[in-house]
C-alpha cells in the first residue's frame, strides 16, 4: 500500500510539475515521463506482490467532506486492474516521449499534466473504498482524458468527439450517483464496507443504474457512441491508455458493485450476456467496415468489451444456477481477457501511432508496403493482430480458450444454461473469424504489398523510445501466451474477492489442465515453427532463390493502384451484413465518353448513433425548447432561480 | 423408441427449412407434397399398438390427397396462370434461415410449456408448431398468390401433426374437419388464381393491392 501511495504521489507531483513547466516543453516532458515511469515500477511491484500473495491492505483517513472518507482498499480485484494501468502508463509515457516530440510543443505541459493525472485518477478509482472518493476520482479521470481528447482541438472532429465524450461522461456519472445512493444505507459515510443489497426493486434499479453508468465508460453497444470518436482523436499513446485501460474501469466498477448486490437474479446475467454478444458481434462488424486505422481499433475495443461482458454474463448465470466452478471459469476468462486486451490494444494503438506519425495519415487506402520501411513496427503490429484475433500461441487465445471452455461446459448434458453456452461459443467463433478478417485487412493494407500513395515516401522507422515502449506489451502478449498457467493463482485470488473466499479453489478444478496444455501447445507450436523454418533453410542451402515481379496472371503493367484495397477486402462481408453496417458508396455518374478524374468513396454509417441517439437528441432539444422562456439571459433572473431553489429545498427539508 | 417416427419428424423439420429457402416454385410444390406425405405416414409410425384398418385407410387417403391431388391442382394452377417459376421472396436467404431456426427455438420452448399428454415420440410438438410458423412465413413473405396457398397447406400439415400429438390414435376427428376446410380453400384459390391471372396477366398480390380504394400517390403517372 505504501508503494502505491508513493506512486500516486509521484504521478500527482509529475502532473503538477508538468503543468508548472508549460513554458519549457522539454522540462515538462521530462517531469511527466519520469514520474510516470517511476510510478509504474512502484505500482507494478506493489500490485504483483498483492496478487501473488493474495494479501489485503487498507488505509482510512478522515476527509472533511460530507459522507466521505479517504479510505483505500487494495484487494486482489483492485490489484488485478492496477496491473494494466501501470503497464500502459509506463509504456505509454515512454512512447509519448517519442510521439509528442516535435509537434505542438506549446501544449506539451498540459498534455503531460493530463496524462499523469489520468493515471493517478485511474489508480485512485481502483483503490478507493468510498463512494464520494470514487466519484471524485472517476470525474478526474473523465476530465483529464477529456483534455487529452481535445489535444488536437483545431480539428473539428476532435471538438465534436470531446463534446460527445463530455456529455456521455456526465450521463454516466449521474447513473452512478443513483446506483451508489441506492446501495448506501442512509446516514454516515458512503464507505463500500457499509454497502448492502437493497431489498426488492431497488436492487434491480441499482443494478441497472450501475450497468448504465459503468457501461457508458466500458463502451458496449448501445452505449459506445463516444468511443469511436474520442479514442482516435487523442494522441496515440493516450488512445492506448484509454482503449487499453480506461474503459476497463467500467468493468472494474461493475464487478465491484455486483459484489455488493449478491445474490444475482438469473436475468441480470442473461442481460449482460446478451449485451456482450451484441457488442462483440456489432463491434467487430463496425470495425471491419472502417478504413481509418485508429477508428478501426476503437471499434475493435467495443468488440473486446463485448467478449469480456459475455464472460461476466455467463459467470453470473452460473452463479445464480449454483454452478460455482463454471462461474469461476467464466469470470476468469473475462478477467484475463480484460488484461489481454489492454496488452494487445495498447500495442496496436502504439503501432498505429507510429504509422500516423511517420506518414501523416491513418487512412488504410493511402498506405501500403510499410513493412519494408518500418520492419520492427510492422512485426509488432502483426503480433498484436494475431493476438487480438485470438490465435495461438499468443495471449488472446488463452482467454478465449477459457471463455469457450466455459461455453462448452455450459452446453453439457443436464445443464440449464445450454442455450447460453451455445450463444457464447457461436459468438466466439464468429467474432474470432471476423476479428481475424478485420486485422488481416488492417495490417495487410498498411504494411504489406506496395504503397498505395505517395504518403509513405518519407516513412521511416519509429524512434528508439517508441520501439522500446512497444516491446513492453509485446513481451506481455508472448509471456501470457506461453505461460498461461502462471495466471491461475492471481485469477483465483481475484475470484476469491468477487465470489467470496470459497471460490478461490474452484478455478483450478476446471482450468489447470487446459491452461497447462495450452501452454504446452504454445511451446510446441513455437518449436514446430522453428523446426520447419530450419528445415526450409536446410532445403534452400546452397541455392539462390530467384527474384522477379509478382505473377499477376499475365497482366503486363500492374500498378500499386490495382492491389486489393482495404474496402475491397472487406466488401463481401460488409455487403452480407448490410442491414447492420450500412456502407454507403458515393461515386459520380460518368457522362462523357472519355471520363477523367472519377472517384469512389465509401462510408459506414454509425447505425446506433443515427437510429437511437440523433432522434433522442432531437426529442430532448424539442422538449428543452418549450422551457426556453426560463432562459431570459439576465443575471437577476438566474440569481432569483438560485434563491428560489434554495428556499424550496429548505422548505422541503423542514 | 420410435426411431422411424423421429426420423420422419426431423425430415419434416428439414422440409420446413427447405421450404423457407427454396427459390423455385415447382420445388416448393414438391416439398409441400413430400411434407404432406410424411405427415400422413406419421400415424402409422407413431402408434403404440398395431395398425388398425381404419388408421391405414385414413393414412392412405391423406397420402393420396396431399401427395397427388393437391400437387396436381397446384401445378395446373401454376401452368395456367403463366406465372414465373420462382417464388419471389420478400426477404433474403439468411433472414429466412434465421426465421426458421428462431421459429424452431420458439416452438421447442412453447412445446415444453404446453400441458400436453406424453406421446413417446420426441419433437412432435415442436415440429408441428415450427411447421405452422413456416407456413406463416410462406404466407407473409412471398408475393405470389400460389405460394400463399402453399403456405396454407404447410400450416395445415403443422396443425395435423399437432393433432397427432394430442390424439395419437384418433387424429381423424381433427384432421377431417381441417382437411375439408383446406380442400375447399385450395379449390377456391385454384379457381381464383386461374381467373385473376386471366384478368390481370399476373398473380402478384402486391399488385392486387391496387384494386383497393386506396390510391398510391402519383398513380398512373
Amino acid at each position: 500500500m505504501l508503494l502505491l501511495l508513493l506512486s500516486l504521489g509521484l504521478l500527482l507531483a509529475g502532473s503538477a510539475l508538468a503543468v508548472l513547466f508549460f513554458r519549457r516543453p522539454a522540462a515538462a516532458r521530462a517531469a511527466g515521463v519520469a514520474a510516470a515511469l517511476l510510478a509504474s515500477v512502484c505500482g507494478l511491484a506493489a500490485s504483483l506482490q498483492t496478487l501473488f500473495s493474495g494479501g489485503f491492505s487498507s488505509l482510512s483517513l478522515p476527509w472533511p467532506v460530507p459522507m466521505a472518507s479517504f479510505s483505500l482498499v487494495l484487494d486482489p480485484l483492485a490489484a488485478f486492474f492496477l496491473i494494466p494501468i501501470f503497464l500502459l502508463t509506463g509504456a505509454g509515457a515512454l512512447y509519448g516521449a517519442g510521439y509528442l516530440d516535435g509537434n505542438a510543443r506549446e501544449r506539451a505541459g498540459l498534455a503531460w499534466g493530463a496524462f499523469d493525472l489520468l493515471s493517478a485518477s485511474m489508480t485512485l478509482v481502483v483503490l478507493s473504498a468510498n463512494a464520494v472518493l470514487f466519484m471524485t476520482a472517476w470525474e478526474l479521470m473523465a476530465l483529464s482524458s477529456f483534455l487529452l481528447v481535445l489535444f488536437d482541438h483545431e480539428r473539428p472532429q476532435a471538438r465534436k468527439a470531446g463534446y460527445l465524450y463530455l456529455v456521455t461522461g456526465a450521463a454516466g456519472a449521474l447513473a452512478l450517483l443513483l446506483a451508489f445512493s441506492l446501495l448506501s444505507p442512509s446516514g454516515g459515510p458512503m464507505d463500500f464496507a457499509r454497502f448492502a443489497r437493497p431489498g426488492g426493486a431497488a436492487a434491480a434499479a441499482a443494478f441497472l443504474a450501475a450497468l448504465c453508468g459503468f457501461g457508458l465508460k466500458a463502451g458496449f453497444i448501445p452505449l459506445h457512441v463516444w468511443l469511436p470518436e474520442a479514442h482516435p482523436a487523442a494522441p496515440s499513446h493516450v488512445s492506448a491508455v484509454m482503449s487499453g485501460v480506461m474503459i476497463k474501469m467500467g468493468i472494474y466498477g461493475l464487478l465491484r458493485v455486483l459484489g455488493f448486490l449478491l445474490p444475482w437474479p438469473a436475468w441480470w446475467g442473461g442481460l449482460i450476456l446478451a449485451f456482450g454478444a451484441v457488442s462483440a458481434l456489432g463491434g467487430v462488424l463496425f470495425a471491419l467496415a472502417q478504413h481509418e486505422l485508429k477508428r478501426l481499433l476503437a471499434y475493435s475495443s467495443v468488440e473486446n468489451m463485448g467478449l469480456i461482458l459475455m464472460g461476466l454474463g455467463l459467470g453470473m448465470l452460473a452463479v445464480s444456477d449454483g454452478d460455482y466452478a463454471l462461474a469461476a471459469l467464466s469470470f476468469s476468462g473475462a478477467l484475463l481477457h480484460a488484461l489481454n486486451h489492454s496488452l494487445f490494444k495498447g500495442l496496436l494503438f502504439m503501432g498505429a501511432g507510429s504509422v500516423i506519425k511517420s506518414t501523416g495519415t491513418g487512412e488504410l487506402e493511402a498506405l501500403g508496403g510499410l513493412s519494408k520501411k518500418m520492419p520492427v513496427t510492422a512485426s509488432y503490429f502483426l503480433l498484436g493482430s494475431a493476438a487480438i484475433s485470438g490465435l495461438p500461441p499468443f495471449n488472446g487465445f488463452v482467454s478465449e480458450l477459457l471463455l469457450g471452455l466455459a461455453g462448452l461446459l455450459a452446453l453439457g448434458p443436464r445443464s440449464r444454461l445450454a442455450p447460453w453456452g451455445a450463444v457464447v461459443i457461436v459468438s466466439l467463433a464468429a467474432v474470432g473469424t471476423l476479428a481475424a478478417a478485420c486485422f488481416v485487412k488492417a495490417s495487410g493494407s498498411v504494411f504489406l504489398g506496395l504503397p498505395r500513395s505517395r504518403r509513405t515516401d518519407g516513412a521511416r522507422e519509429a524512434g528508439r523510445p517508441m520501439l522500446a515502449a512497444m516491446a513492453v506489451p509485446a513481451a506481455g502478449i508472448a509471456l501470457v501466451g506461453l505461460f498461461p498457467s502462471a495466471a491461475l493463482r492471481p485469477l483465483s485470488a481475484v475470484l476469491g474477492s468477487i465470489l467470496g473466499p470459497g471460490a478461490a479453489g474452484f478455478l483450478s478444478a476446471y482450468a489447470s489442465v487446459p491452461l497447462a496444455c495450452a501452454g504446452a501447445a504454445a511451446a510446441g507450436l513455437a518449436a514446430l515453427l522453428l523446426a520447419l523454418w530450419t528445415a526450409r533453410a536446410l532445403l534452400l542451402r546452397g541455392r539462390k532463390p530467384g527474384a522477379g515481379p509478382t505473377w499477376d496472371c499475365g497482366y503486363a503493367e500492374p500498378t500499386p493502384r490495382m492491389q486489393y484495397g482495404a474496402s475491397s477486402f472487406s466488401q463481401p462481408l460488409t455487403d452480407l451484413f448490410q442491414p447492420v453496417i450500412r456502407v454507403i458508396g458515393r461515386y459520380p455518374r460518368i457522362q462523357e465518353y472519355f471520363p477523367s478524374g472519377a472517384s469512389f468513396s465509401t462510408e459506414a454509417q454509425p447505425l446506433v448513433y443515427n437510429t437511437l441517439y440523433t432522434p433522442a437528441a432531437r426529442r430532448i432539444r424539442g422538449l428543452a425548447y418549450r422551457f426556453s422562456w426560463l432562459q431570459q439571459g439576465r443575471l437577476q433572473f438566474y440569481i432569483m432561480y438560485i434563491a428560489a431553489a434554495l428556499i424550496g429545498l429548505l422548505l422541503w427539508k423542514l | 423408441m420410435h426411431i422411424l417416427a423421429e426420423l420422419v419428424i426431423v425430415l419434416i423439420i428439414l422440409l420446413d427449412l427447405g421450404l423457407a429457402v427454396t427459390g423455385s416454385l415447382s420445388a416448393c410444390i414438391r416439398l409441400v407434397a413430400a411434407q404432406g406425405v410424411l405427415a400422413g405416414l406419421l400415424p402409422l409410425l407413431a402408434g403404440t399398438e398395431g395398425i388398425s384398418a381404419g388408421t391405414a385407410a385414413f393414412a392412405a387417403v391423406i397420402v393420396l390427397l396431399k401427395g397427388a391431388v393437391f400437387p396436381w391442382l397446384l401445378i395446373r394452377a401454376r401452368d395456367r396462370s403463366g406465372a414465373r417459376q420462382d417464388v419471389e421472396p420478400l426477404v433474403s436467404y439468411p433472414v429466412s434461415v434465421a426465421f426458421c431456426l428462431g421459429s424452431f427455438v420458439a416452438a421447442s420452448w412453447l412445446g415444453s410449456r404446453l400441458p400436453l399428454p406424453e406421446t413417446g415420440v420426441a419433437w412432435i410438438v415442436p415440429a408441428s408448431l415450427a411447421t405452422v410458423f413456416t407456413g406463416f412465413l410462406l404466407i407473409t413473405t412471398r408475393t405470389k398468390a400460389i405460394t400463399q396457398v402453399l403456405g396454407y397447406l404447410v400450416m395445415e400439415n403443422g396443425i395435423y401433426i399437432f393433432g397427432l400429438a394430442l390424439f395419437v390414435q384418433q387424429p381423424m376427428m381433427v384432421e377431417l374437419a381441417i382437411l375439408l376446410d383446406v380442400f375447399v380453400a385450395v379449390f377456391v384459390m385454384g379457381i381464383a388464381i386461374f381467373h385473376i391471372s386471366r384478368e390481370f396477366d399476373h398473380i402478384d398480390t402486391a399488385e392486387l393491392s391496387e384494386l383497393s380504394d386506396w390510391r398510391r400517390e402519383g398513380y398512373g403517372s
Binding site: 508496403g369 462448452l408 495487410g444 504489398g449 539462390k544 500499386p560 492491389q563 486489393y564 | 426420423l7
Partner: protein, 305 residues
C-alpha cells in the same frame, strides 16, 4: 506400447494424408471416364517441389516466406489433437477443440497475410474470399462440436469421439446425421472443394484458395500442398470417427476400418465434385449458413428432447 499407439496414429495420419487428394482425383477421373493421374501424384509433387529453387517476388517480405511454414506448423499441431480410429490423440485435454479450431484460424491467417504480401490484385481477391467464408464456416463447425459436446458430455475431441457409440447413434440418430451433414459441408468449404471452390482452376477470377498461393514456389509450395492435405485429413478423420461408432477393441481391425472410412470420405468428396457444379460465389455463404442451420437444428433437437 500404450504411449506409442497414439503416436503411431499420428504418424499414419502424417504419412497417409497426401493420399486423400489423390483418391478424390481418382474418383473424379472415374466419373469422367478418364484414367486420371496416379493416386500417389501428390507424393511425387511434394518430392519434386522440395528439390526446387523458389522464386520470390521483389514486393514480398519475410511474411510471405513465413506464411507456408506457419500454416503447416499450425496444421501439424492440430493433427496431434485429432483422434485416430476412435482412440485418444496424443494431445487431448478439456477444450482442445478450441485449440484445433483456432489453429485452423492461425493457418488461414498466415496464408491470407502471405497472399496480401505479394501486392497482387488476384491474391488479394482470394484472400478476401477466404476470410469471408471462414466467418460462416467456423461458427457452423464450432456449434456442431458444441452439439456433440452436449450429446456426449465431453469437451475434448478425443473424449467426444471416444464416447460416440452405437448406443449414442441409436438414441440420437437424426441429430448425429444432421451433424455429419454439417461437418461434410464445412469440410468441403474449408478444403476449397466443389461446390465452394474449385481445386482445379488456377486462372479464374472465381477461385479462392488456389489464387492465394499463386506466387509460392519450391519448398514453400510443398508446405502449402502438404498442409492442405493434412487439413483434409483432419476433417475426414472427424467424419470417419462420427460414422464409425463401433470399436472391436482389436487394434488392427479398428485401424483398418478407420482408414477405409477416411478414404471413403475422400471418395465422397470426389463424387460430390463430379456430380455438382461450383456454386456462384454469392451463394457460397448461403451453403455455409445452411450448414450452420443444420448444426443449430441438431443442438436444438438435442436440447428439446
Amino acid at each position: 506400447m500404450e504411449t506409442l499407439r497414439p503416436l503411431s496414429g499420428l504418424l499414419a495420419a502424417l504419412l497417409l494424408a497426401p493420399l486423400l487428394p489423390g483418391v478424390a482425383n481418382k474418383v473424379k477421373a472415374f466419373f469422367g471416364g478418364r484414367k486420371g493421374q496416379p493416386v500417389l501424384q501428390l507424393y511425387y509433387d511434394l518430392a519434386k517441389l522440395l528439390r526446387k529453387t523458389p522464386v520470390y517476388s521483389v514486393t514480398s517480405t519475410w511474411i510471405f516466406k513465413a506464411g507456408p511454414a506457419v500454416g503447416l506448423g499450425a496444421l501439424l499441431l492440430a493433427l496431434t489433437a485429432t483422434p485416430f480410429a476412435g482412440r485418444s490423440a496424443p494431445l487431448a485435454f478439456d477444450g482442445d477443440l478450441m485449440l484445433v479450431v483456432y489453429l485452423l484460424g492461425l493457418a488461414r491467417f498466415a496464408t491470407v497475410l502471405a497472399a496480401l504480401d505479394t501486392g497482387s490484385a488476384f491474391e488479394g481477391m482470394g484472400a478476401s474470399r477466404e476470410a469471408q467464408f471462414a466467418v460462416f464456416a467456423e461458427p457452423a463447425f464450432m456449434l456442431g462440436l458444441g452439439a456433440l459436446a452436449c450429446i456426449t458430455g465431453s469437451v475434448s475431441l478425443s473424449g467426444i469421439f471416444g464416447a460416440l457409440t452405437v448406443a449414442t447413434w441409436a438414441a440420437a440418430a437424426p441429430v448425429l446425421l444432421l451433424l455429419t451433414a454439417a461437418f461434410f459441408v464445412v469440410m468441403l468449404a474449408e478444403n476449397s472443394r466443389v461446390p465452394a471452390d474449385d481445386p482445379n482452376t488456377h486462372l479464374e477470377l472465381t477461385m479462392i484458395h488456389e489464387v492465394m498461393v499463386l506466387d509460392h514456389s519450391g519448398p514453400d509450395l510443398a508446405f502449402i500442398l502438404y498442409g492442405a492435405s493434412l487439413k483434409l485429413w483432419f476433417f475426414a478423420a472427424l467424419i470417419a470417427c462420427m460414422v464409425l461408432p463401433r470399436h472391436s477393441g482389436a487394434w488392427a481391425t479398428d485401424t483398418g476400418l478407420f482408414l477405409l472410412a477416411v478414404i471413403g470420405v475422400a471418395a465422397a468428396v470426389g463424387a460430390v465434385e463430379s456430380a455438382m457444379a461450383r456454386l456462384r460465389l454469392l451463394k457460397v455463404p448461403y451453403l455455409l449458413i445452411t450448414a450452420f442451420a443444420f448444426s443449430a437444428l441438431a443442438l436444438i433437437l438435442q436440447l428439446a428432447r
